[in-house]
């Protein structure tokens, strides 16, 4: 994170070359983004800033941030913040995907009100203008608390509160406001110093949205920086800083020997409290702002061991610190746990016999497990680490995440083609479940979500698997299908028009379906109704069944969400409809359908296309008539076989009939002769 911050600092200092300029982008036909006017001072670590102009009011001072395509932006937060104008927050004017020439694709763009002043601090290693304890309440704490209050009321968190993301909104330096918080995953750009111990243990991309308590912690750090005018822990590297925070507590680490006014100690102790339950909330801050003095919170330092636990050449004196070290050295942590050294340490040095017994049980169960030994020991270490530090994030081998950070982590890893095996493995092996069990205070909804994700991962067909998890966990992530090209599809209603546009780009005669794993998973995750049965049918080995399931889905979406005319997509489906037409046995019916198709393609109605191809009555009739025809064919076949195989029988029959005929002929001739003779004699 320090590197990211450093990079951001460099960018902010204007040293980075601007992206290759091109024609301006236009957002929602109103805001012109000038690609030849970069604003490095306003850039976010993962979003470049450019000058923006409102076509309707050219006097408005605006700037736009162009998000990086490989990171999932916080679209839900964008939705909530658009148009919000309040003290302590930069006004978000507009957001949306926009064709951006320098990137050669559509990029998520956010237009903000341009601050009149500068960034409060350009780099965490640099210095800022000190704000003394008399001004800080009015200039900093009041507006920023107001901003957090506004966010809390809207059910969102900022997760990008840091001194380098604060702006003076006026030229006099009296109005402070938080900068952007939507262009990258929550807390992704946060330096470790601004994050609580639990969040700091996570990978930056998987810190999750967290709660307002995380924002208040970051606010505490920001207040401290502004009070001091510098970073008090600039000399620490990330690892040392985290270790110090664990050992001494955040307040002691960050404030150290600095001399602060008593009210400031009070508010900083409250905001930098490491226990999120005890940390000050908005109500406490309101009381403090009203002048009611609260007794400063005393830090609760974790129990120190009488004797250190040696691990990897270092000595650890408390469980939390040891668990963090073990999580970072996964494979090396397993032997001492299996050998019982940890249990012994807990029993003797920490004197926590209860925890030691539970650890012993977990180890015993792992050793006696009938499943794969490697899996059993990995899960054992997961449990042991949770026992050592129940507040820590979910940790599995090298992966470390908060439950609500899984989505952003998966999105970022998939976009950068990173290795997401550990993330998947942790879900498949029910690690989140263990985590929730260790923290009984967590709501069950998230646990149920992970159960669902696990079920999706165990299915490999189109519409399931890792892609389904991606869209289930990121409800505002655009569809990543390469079929959609530059189209930025976030909502289901945007999918069919995007595919309709993509239909024009496909090569003639291509057998490519207008659906791939991403599109199927996107539909599964975004559809309000359960379409899993249709998605399962997509993988049907009979191509006709799969195609009909897809046409059915598209028809339902067109019927519900529009638009009424999709000639491109209808033509695409029509060109692929051969297997569906071939599902009818009757050649006459097939000809009839093939004749009808072009009309429906011109009309652009997938609904009618589906009705035509999947007429239940016609199918039933076709089926029964086909069965009748098969029976007729078989009857004819049997008769032919019988006629051709009974040569001897026929000869016998011919002999018998011939003799009988001859006998009858003889008798008749005799009788006729008698009759003629009688007649001749009588007359």
């Amino acid at each position: 994170m320090a590197e990211a911050e450093a990079a951001a600092g460099e960018k902010q200092a204007g040293r980075e070359a601007p992206a290759q300029a091109g024609p301006p982008g236009v957002l929602r036909d109103r805001y012109v983004i000038r690609s030849n006017q970069p604003l490095p001072d306003l850039s976010a670590p993962n979003a470049d800033a450019f000058a923006a102009e409102d076509k309707r009011d050219s006097n408005r001072r605006l700037y736009a941030l162009i998000c990086k395509p490989e990171l999932p932006p916080r679209v839900n937060v964008m939705r909530a913040l658009k148009g919000v104008s309040t003290l302590g927050l930069q006004s978000m004017i507009e957001w949306g995907p926009m064709a951006w020439a320098p990137a050669g694709r559509q990029c998520m763009t956010v237009v903000y009100e341009r601050p009149a002043g500068n960034r409060v601090m350009t780099s965490l290693r640099g210095e800022a203008r000190r704000i003394d304890e008399y001004d800080i309440t009015r200039k900093v704490i009041e507006p920023l608390v107001n901003g957090i209050k506004e966010l809390t009321n809207r059910g969102i968190t900022h997760r990008a509160i840091r001194p380098t993301n604060l702006f003076f909104m006026d030229s006099g330096g009296d109005r402070l406001a938080f900068g952007d918080c939507v262009t990258s995953p929550p807390a992704f750009d946060q330096p470790l110093v601004c994050e609580s111990v639990e969040s700091a243990m996570c990978l930056p991309v998987s810190r999750g949205s967290g709660t307002y308590a995380d924002d208040l912690y970051a606010l505490g750090v920001t207040i401290l920086f502004l009070l001091l005018g510098r970073n008090p822990v600039a000399h620490y590297d990330d690892e040392a800083l985290l270790r110090a925070k664990i050992q001494m507590g955040s307040y002691a680490t960050l404030v150290g020997d600095e001399r602060l006014a008593l009210p400031m100690i009070e508010v900083l102790r409250g905001l930098l409290c490491d226990d999120p339950d005890q940390r000050w909330d908005i109500a406490s801050l309101d009381l403090w702002l009203q002048g009611r003095r609260l007794s400063p919170l005393q830090p609760r330092i974790e129990k120190r061991a009488a004797r250190a636990f040696p691990f990897q050449g270092k000595e650890y004196l408390n469980c939390r610190e040891l668990s963090a070290a073990m999580a970072k050295n996964w494979d090396l942590a397993i032997p001492p746990v299996l050998e019982g050294k940890l249990e012994l340490w807990l029993r003797r040095a920490i004197e926590d016999k209860e925890r030691a017994a539970v650890v012993a049980d977990v180890v015993r169960m792992a050793l006696g497990s009938g499943t794969d030994k490697r899996v059993a020991t990995d899960l054992m270490l997961c449990k042991v680490l949770m026992l050592l530090d129940a507040n820590a994030p979910i940790r599995y081998k090298g992966f470390s995440a908060m439950p609500d950070g899984y989505g952003a982590a998966l999105a970022a890893l998939m976009a950068t083609r990173g290795d997401y095996r550990l993330l998947v493995e942790s879900i498949v092996r029910d690690v989140p479940k263990l985590w929730f069990e260790a923290r009984s205070d967590q709501p069950d909804a998230s646990e149920a979500n992970f159960r669902e994700l696990r079920a999706y991962l165990t299915q490999t067909g189109m519409g399931f698997g890792i892609e389904r998890c991606l869209y289930e966990m990121n409800d505002a992530l655009p569809c990543q299908s390469p079929l959609l090209g530059e189209e930025y599809v976030v909502e289901l209603r945007e999918l069919l028009p995007a595919l309709n546009a993509a239909a024009g780009r496909r090569s003639e005669g291509s057998k490519q379906w207008p659906c791939d794993r991403h599109i199927a998973a996107f539909m599964g995750a975004r559809a309000r109704s359960d379409i899993d049965r249709n998605l399962q049918a997509l993988a049907d080995p009979d191509g006709g069944t799969g195609l009909m399931a897809l046409i059915n889905l598209f028809a339902v979406f067109q019927y519900r969400l529009g638009p009424e005319q999709l000639p491109g997509l209808t033509g695409w489906l029509g060109a692929l409809a051969q297997p569906a037409i071939a599902a009818y046995h009757s050649r006459e019916k097939r000809k009839e359908l093939e004749k009808e198709l072009p009309r429906l393609v011109r009309k652009g109605s997938i609904v009618e296309l589906y009705s035509l191809l999947d007429d239940a009555n016609a199918r039933a009739k076709d089926g029964s008539e086909f069965t009748w025809a098969q029976t007729q064919y078989q009857a004819a076949e049997d008769e032919i076989r019988r006629l051709q195989s009974d040569e001897e029988e026929r000869e016998r029959e011919a002999d018998r009939i011939g003799k009988q005929t001859a006998a009858v002929t003889g008798i008749i001739i005799g009788m006729v002769t008698v009759t003629i003779t009688v007649i001749m004699t009588v007359w």
Partner: protein, 176 residues
């Protein structure tokens, strides 16, 4: 395999014997009664019997020469044989119905040629009829096979090659 028909035959013979034994009382009585009636009539129509015995010899030969269940030769030969004899019998009945006349008739070449030539014609008909019927049966079978194959071709034309597959009896008719 080779012995099987013989065994069947033995069984069939045993069954036939048993059936004959069963039938014996009734069947035997009828035959005896018939023979007694014929024997009683002989003194009153001896000339007719004489002519018939000599002129109908081919019929008797046909009756005794054939074996098996379908013994129809005596009927065919007998019908034509009788047709050749009946004009002369009428001459006898409506002329002089005496033993002398009967002897004259059976020694008359025309009578014998007529009786034996017609019986020969009967034999020819009897021998020619089965092949003719066989040819006709073959022709009608071929025609039937042809029409069935045409019907199958039409089915394939209407439903494709898959119509030649056996229908799945367990599948519901509307499953297609």
């Amino acid at each position: 395999m080779a012995r099987k028909p013989a065994a069947k035959s033995a069984v069939a013979q045993a069954q036939a014997r048993a059936a004959a034994a069963k039938r014996k009382p009734g069947g035997g009585t009828n035959k005896v009664a018939m023979l007694m009636i014929v024997a009683a009539l002989i003194p009153f129509s001896l000339p007719t019997a004489t002519v018939l015995v000599f002129t109908m010899l081919p019929t008797l030969a046909a009756y005794f020469s054939e074996r098996g269940n379908s013994r129809y030769a005596w009927l065919c030969v007998g019908g034509l044989n009788f047709a050749g004899v009946i004009p002369f019998l009428f001459g006898l009945w409506f002329g002089v119905h005496t033993e002398d006349e009967a002897l004259r008739l059976i020694s008359d070449g025309n009578v014998l040629v007529s009786a034996y030539a017609t019986s020969a014609l009967g034999w020819m008909i009897y021998k020619a009829m089965p092949p003719m019927i066989g040819s006709w049966l073959k022709f009608s079978t071929d025609r039937r096979v042809g029409s069935l194959k045409a019907a199958q071709r039409k089915l394939i034309e209407d439903w494709g090659d898959e119509v030649a597959r056996k229908p799945q009896s367990d599948a519901p008719p509307a499953a297609g």
